[in-house]
């Protein structure tokens, strides 16, 4: 259905996607600096960075199914960037919390992590993202070898579950929004389970 794109076109598309992914951060920065936010800019920074971290995580997880369903193998070339953007927004989310919410009060931060399960879940997701971000380069893929690299990067499933759990546990009364993320994540995970089953079945048949 779709023709493979030339290397030059992909390079251009990558620039476009890179800039597009930066728009939420730029808009937020603009609104904070121009005092265009009602009430609490720190709350806005927390919410925007957290929501986009979650969205980019789910977008990253949607790449594999979309490649197959839309017959767009080239999508894989954008996955690393999207995953790194998930890390970028998640890391910003953490920095807002450390700087503006706690102002480097490490005792309070450690207390928060140990005593409040939604913060523990969020922190778990973020910590697990670090090795994936570090090993996202071509060099690391080579160093680890494709198989081991893939195994390591399966952590993304745990990260996404922890991130959505973080959102569900922090809500006070209205669960609609986290439920939407939970639903999308469930679809993406179930797709993989089914794909995995099918693959196993064909392997058995071939054997």
């Amino acid at each position: 259905m779709f023709l493979p794109l030339s290397a030059a076109k992909i390079r251009w598309l990558k620039v476009v996607v890179f800039i597009a992914c930066l728009i939420p951060a730029l808009l937020l920065g603009y609104n904070v600096l121009t005092n265009n936010i009602s009430g609490d800019p720190v709350e806005a920074m927390t919410h925007v960075s957290g929501e986009w971290a979650l969205r980019f995580l789910l977008i990253t997880l949607a790449i594999t199914p979309l490649r197959r369903l839309l017959n767009l193998p080239d999508l894989i070339k954008f996955r690393r960037m999207l995953g790194l953007y998930a890390f970028f927004y998640a890391f910003s989310h953490l920095m807002v919390y450390i700087v503006f919410d706690q102002f480097f009060d490490w005792t309070a931060i450690i207390n928060d992590i140990l005593e409040r399960k939604y913060i523990f879940a969020g922190m778990l997701a973020l910590v697990l993202m670090i090795p994936l971000a570090i090993t996202s380069t071509n060099g690391w893929v080579k160093r680890l070898g494709g198989k081991r690299w893939q195994k390591l990067h399966k952590l993304v499933y745990l990260i996404a579950i922890a991130a959505v759990t973080h959102f569900i546990w922090l809500v006070k009364a209205d669960f609609t929004e986290p439920a939407i993320y939970a639903f999308i994540l469930t679809v993406l995970l179930v797709y993989r389970l089914i794909a995995h089953r099918k693959k196993k079945l064909t392997q058995i048949k071939l054997a």
């Binding site: 009602s38 009430g39 609490d40 709350e43 006070k172 209205d174 669960f175």
Partner: protein, 323 residues
């Protein structure tokens, strides 16, 4: 330290610029921008002007006691950053969705264990109990705070007028239930967000305390719809959710009323809900708060800084149990 907070600034903006001009700064900026760009912004400017011409029915009311001299939270933040789940669960939307809410005519029924029950028209009530300005700290259970120049009268005066009987141990309050006018009350995919109508309650001595006011205005105006028009409760030493909005019923009861957030999360929201930096909400610390307009958090004060006035109401109580 590169980050300067307002706390460190010895001269407050309100001391330099008179408030009307200060509040008009957007029009001033828009005018300057229009001149600089050579654009014709006349229609936009007219719209801004008419917004500033809101009726100021309480412009001349007396200033009441207990006023804090802390810097007021600006009008825009007070009126666009609102927890009012009857309209929306996010804080910016109530101002938009409540814009056309009709807060007049409005009847408040005072009923229950009293000898003088009465259905009050809101303006009749305001006439009977002339309001005054009360500048209070306002601390939300979510760990943010404001300083608001409320306009209100002491609930105690209305209570005395209603002649509660010896059985009246508590006062229960109810918000209007009308999903057509308050869209947040409509059931969503997961049912109702809260158990409507919103209910709150006070012990009789808390309700009689002179700090407790029935609030009908702020910044000299009628209270905006998104802040709980036409009448709401303000109990400044308690978390904001005790300040029930758009009240239609005040009822004297013998039993302790069940308040909405306590029903929603008994381990997270108590009946008393006194501001207490030592008793954390299970999901966040209450030791500090962010004053809206400031970047970094400041310490939260016991009873929100009103300990001298109210601490003796709770002397024999374990406040970590009765949170």
């Amino acid at each position: 330290m590169l980050i300067r907070t307002r706390q460190n600034n010895p001269i407050r903006p309100s001391e330099i610029t008179p408030e009307p001009i200060y509040k008009d700064r957007r029009r001033f900026l828009a005018g300057g921008a229009a001149l600089a760009l050579g654009l014709n912004l006349a229609p936009a400017l007219a719209a801004v002007t008419s917004k500033n011409d809101l009726p100021k029915p309480f412009a001349d009311v007396a200033t009441g006691p207990y006023a804090t001299d802390e810097e007021l939270t600006d009008y825009k933040s007070v009126t666009t950053y609102n927890n009012f789940y009857e309209f929306s669960t996010d804080k910016q939307t109530p101002a938009k969705l409540a814009k056309d809410f009709a807060a007049r005519p409005w009847t408040i029924s005072v009923e229950g264990e009293c000898n003088n029950p009465k259905k009050w028209d809101i303006d009749e009530l305001i006439k009977a109990f002339p309001p005054e300005e009360r500048i209070y700290r306002h601390r939300c259970v979510e760990a943010w705070s404001m300083v608001v120049p409320w306009i209100g009268f002491e609930l105690g005066k209305l209570i005395k007028h209603s002649e509660p009987t010896g059985n009246a141990k508590f006062v229960e309050f109810e918000t209007l239930y009308d999903p057509e006018r308050m869209p947040g009350q409509k059931a969503g995919f997961f049912g109702q967000v809260l158990d409507w109508p919103y209910r709150e309650g006070l012990r009789m001595d808390e309700a009689m305390h002179p700090l407790t006011i029935m609030t009908v205005g702020l910044y000299g105006e009628y209270i905006p719809n998104q802040n709980g028009a036409p009448i709401r409760l303000i109990v400044p030493w308690k978390y904001g959710f005790k300040g029930i909005k758009s009240i239609v019923t005040i009822r004297f009861t013998e039993e302790q009323p069940r308040n909405t957030w306590n029903v929603q999360g008994p381990s997270e929201y108590g009946f008393y809900a006194n501001v207490n930096p030592q008793v954390d909400h299970p999901r966040w610390s209450q030791a500090k708060e962010r004053r809206i307009g400031e970047l970094l958090k400041r310490p939260t004060l016991m009873f929100n800084g009103y300990a001298e006035e109210v601490a003796d109401l709770y002397t024999s109580m374990d406040l970590s149990k009765h949170y």
